[in-house]
Symmetry: C2
Subunit: 241 residues, 2 copies
């Protein structure tokens, strides 16, 4: 690299990795596009191919980028098969995995509640967009989901095309230019209330799995707070360690 002659020691490949990441985040290489080849980039930055490979491999490990021998390196999208199940862990009892179909119940703009503001790093009272939906698996309601995002960062989401797409993260990426890269999920067991009774078709006090997720962008900033209540008679939450 020509710039970055700073005395702070960080491995070259990490600096390269961050530069590449910033070019992705900036929108210079939108999701789905091919980035320049290893040799082109290594010349561009004046480093060896090996060093540049280490940077790209690191990005690939974090699912930021997908590499294919013979084809090239692509910025990851949320509709690729690999990404689809990164954030969806519900599995049918027989082990089959499929994506749910969504039905939106509520889409509104309102002030953030305290817990939402804290999760999103906002001030209480800042405006958010709230989406509530049912997600069905095998034509059976499986999830009651409340999604909350910043109204300033996602301006206009509450008026989006009437049928909201099934995978919100794909919409975030295409419409708002932000990619969900990581998430933190906290799981609780709760008792169904009247809302869950109505929408999930379970009796009041049925045990449900509650998943509170904070989804974060490529740099780790919180993007979305989502609470899902899930029926576990016909599905379970799968985690591989």
């Amino acid at each position: 690299m020509n710039d970055q002659v700073t005395p702070n020691f960080r491995p070259l490949y990490q600096q390269i990795k961050e530069v590449l990441l910033s070019r992705i985040v900036s929108g210079e290489w939108p999701p789905g596009t091919f980035i320049p080849s290893e040799s082109a980039l290594s010349q561009q930055y004046g480093v060896s191919v090996g060093t540049l490979r280490k940077a790209l491999d690191a990005l690939a490990n974090e699912n930021v980028v997908i590499r294919r021998q013979g084809k090239g390196t692509v910025v990851a999208t949320h509709d690729s098969d690999r990404s689809l199940f990164q954030f969806f862990h519900l599995v049918r009892l027989d082990g089959e995995r499929s994506l749910p179909i969504s039905r939106v119940l509520v889409r509104e703009r309102r002030k953030a509640e305290a817990i939402e503001a804290e999760a999103l790093g906002m001030e209480p009272g800042d405006e958010v967009i709230h989406i509530r939906r049912i997600r069905e698996l095998d034509e059976r309601p499986a999830l009651l989901e409340d999604v909350v995002v910043s109204a300033t960062r996602f301006t206009g989401l509450e008026e989006e095309p009437q049928p909201l797409p099934n995978t919100l993260y794909h919409l975030y990426q295409q419409r708002f230019g932000v990619s969900v890269a990581h998430a933190e999920e906290r799981l609780f067991a709760i008792a169904a209330g009247s809302e869950e009774q109505e929408h999930l078709g379970v009796e009041v006090n049925t045990p449900l799995l509650e998943i509170r997720r904070i989804a974060k962008d490529l740099q780790g900033n919180p993007l979305e707070y989502r609470v899902s209540r899930c029926e576990t008679q016909h599905h379970y939450y799968l985690n591989e360690l």
Copy 2:
């Protein structure tokens, strides 16, 4: 490498990786010991240091081995700080993580139930060792846990030193020479029964988190089937994606 002139194409570093893994599994390098240096191993196998590095890095990524600049490469143990929380995801509501203290209720040898036999790849009726214990966090019972392992693979476990160690996987490793490397967890929401009422101090029908885990060794063979019922008033299950 001198052997392995087979025509089936697999990258050299993967073959090296498997050879190293087999030497670890065989007990030649027990957990906690340092394996030979990169240069020594590369000479031993007649490959370049870079290739050997790739093999070792892969093993490090899978937590089989831990590498430390200036010191060497050590076979991972289940008491290292890194490993301790790989399989323990319960977190206190304020975010603090600590390991639970266990109290054994049952330790017996009996025939496997159908679901246990299936999980462990055994025949129904084969003998298993069953351990039931309470695990306390902050002096409050948090988990009621049933652990089932093959009685032939873990011969003598039912008569182990009376205070069973807190971390069973450490015992498996030291006493039986097997390391738990991976696990698959299936999470359900269930209602507390009388047993949970008695041992966890919750009312009957309180929603609980049930975690069904199949723990596997370095080669992916099932080692242990464990069902934990967990109270989520004071803790939650944390999953980072």
